[in-house]
Amino acid sequence: MSRFGTRPGTRRQRGATLPAVLGLTAALAITVAVSLTVARGGVTSAAHLGRADIAIQAADAGVNRYISRLVEDPRYYDRWVDQAEDPRVDPAGVVHPPGSPWIPGTPWTYVGPPQTQIPLQDARFGSATYSLRISPPTVGSDIVTVQAQARVDAAGPRPQVRTVQAQIAPVSIADFQMISNKEIKYGSAATTTGKLYSAVSVNHLGVATAPVFAQQKVCSEPTTVECGSHYYGSDVFRAGAYDSASTPSFSDKFPTPIDFSQFTRSVNDLRDAAQHGGVYRNNPSVTAWLVQFRSDGTMRIHRATSLKIDQALSSLSCPEIVPVPENGAVFFEQPVIVSDGSSLVDACGGRGPRDSVVDGRVTIATPGNLYIGGNIAYETSGDDVLGLIATQSIIFTQYTPRDTTVRAATLAQNGQWITSLTSYDGKHESLTYIGSQTTNQGGYASMFRTRTYGYDEVLQFLRPPFYPIIEGSWENRYWREVRAPS
């Protein structure tokens, strides 16, 4: 027997261990490979989501950049092609690169896919850039539409492109049912549906379905006008009440309280627009102007004489008929009366009353008092709107009808919002006011036996032309992701 010969019995071993080891190892290898593939998929997916998030943030940065421009200059879009904007093409086909000045009032288009790419960062997921496209407000609207497209890792194998569209607009004082620099009190029968603001206090005994803001106190106290304590109960304040002691507080909502002196800018803009394409009247010999809006889109303007405008009119000239101006600006340097509830006959034989039906979007302003002498309605709700701005007071005259209905946004910049008489005179049963009231020195309407105040929801999206906005209040109205422009 050889020294190296086969030992007895070993011939029956079939080498099963090796295949078993190989099999198990192979199975394990497959398991590990699958596991690693799944893990790698997870990492890839996480990176993909990370890039997508950065793209959204970059696009949002573009929107915010443009908002900051509009806060500085509300008509920025009409004066400049922004540095981050795609080149604009004017109606003559001339291309205006980013950063160039723009001729106000000129429409524009964009051609092809986004071209301008403003770099924002170059971090872990690759460089992020964005470009902007701007749509100016349509007639009668404030909404500037900003479309921001952002790219992340554009040169990489898996670039991410996201597009955001934001409709941005300023907050108008007509977004509020009532703004007052004095205390406000509503009775137990009152249901207010618009936002209320007071630089002092709001004492509400009824129900407020929209938010209420008072710089000092919000309450519901029947025995006083000013608030003695704070009350925010949802039985009265259904949509929240904010004052010096609430969370959030008044100052959280209004870091800078509304400053009535800032409205002068709107009045000046309106005067300027009235002189350039609007309706502008300045005749020092005229006591007051009487305006009647007609449902055919025109206005009748009379020269009025009166010893006391709030009490009675003495005479009216023949009416001058003018269309409601396209730019919506009407300015009278002398006091103005809107509508006439009397039966006074004018110099051409026309007899009152002269109720107004507004067809168009228009704001009347005057540096003096603005008088409301009769009913005011809109021809088409949701399409027409009227703003009335008095640098002094808004006054309801004694020749308003027994039952008066007025729909308008009104501003008494330095004065009050009042009726001619301080108490019921037996001739004025009801006042129904639908709109927005802004008054510096508070007011009353006690000449009418019953008063009903409602907010006009249309004012939320239809600001009367040149009606003041709250300084620096540009914000997103509708922000969303959209498909990328082709």
Partner: protein
């Protein structure tokens, strides 16, 4: 002796195999949990970011929010020309151990819309192990937390989403957590 060596070798081999299998199972369980959470957080973030008033600003984009439930209005339309929202009503809530998403569709041509009943729930994460940790928490513009349930949803500017999902680490039940803060873009300042 040979048998002993072979057995030791086999035990080592099987141990190696089963530990590999455990690692793979752990990996799979964790990946599944993380993917579920990631998808849920992404969906929630997207809906919250774009939450929009269903009635032109009278009410906010968030209809209600408490620790385990959130109802938002969101319009998924991506057409740049569709500039007026007609939002869906989307409800996220904890249903047993599941985070589910349900959708109600608007009825009517213009606001205020009425809404259909909610669709059958779609499970986003399972099992959810938040326990006493709130899934949703709301904050004001100044970062102050709002009590749950939020009384005035108009005050909500930021929502914190915190999801804790169950997973397996070997044979042990563990959890994984994903959290993010989402700032609503369509909130009214006043």
């Amino acid at each position: 002796m040979g048998i002993a060596v072979a057995m030791a070798f086999a035990i080592a081999l099987y141990s190696f195999f089963f530990s590999g299998l455990d690692a793979a199972n752990t990996h799979q369980s964790q990946t599944r949990a993380q993917n579920g959470l990631r998808t849920a957080v992404e969906l929630l973030s997207r809906d919250l970011r774009q939450a929009v008033s269903p009635d032109g600003g009278i009410n906010g984009g968030i209809m209600s929010l408490n620790a385990t439930s959130l109802v938002v209005h969101v319009d998924p339309n991506r057409d740049p020309a569709a500039t007026v929202p007609k939002p869906l009503r989307v409800r996220y809530r904890l249903l047993g151990e599941q985070l589910v998403r349900e959708v109600a569709r608007p009825i009517g041509a213009a606001p205020p819309y009425s809404y259909t009943a909610y669709s059958p729930p779609v499970v986003l994460v399972e099992p959810l192990r938040n326990g006493a940790t709130p899934l949703f928490q709301a904050f004001t513009r100044q970062g102050a937390p709002l009590a749950s349930p939020v009384a005035q949803t108009r005050d909500i500017t930021t929502v914190r989403i915190r999801l804790i999902a169950g997973q397996k680490t070997g044979l042990q039940a563990t959890t994984t957590e994903l959290s993010t803060d989402v700032t609503l873009r369509n909130t009214a300042r006043y």
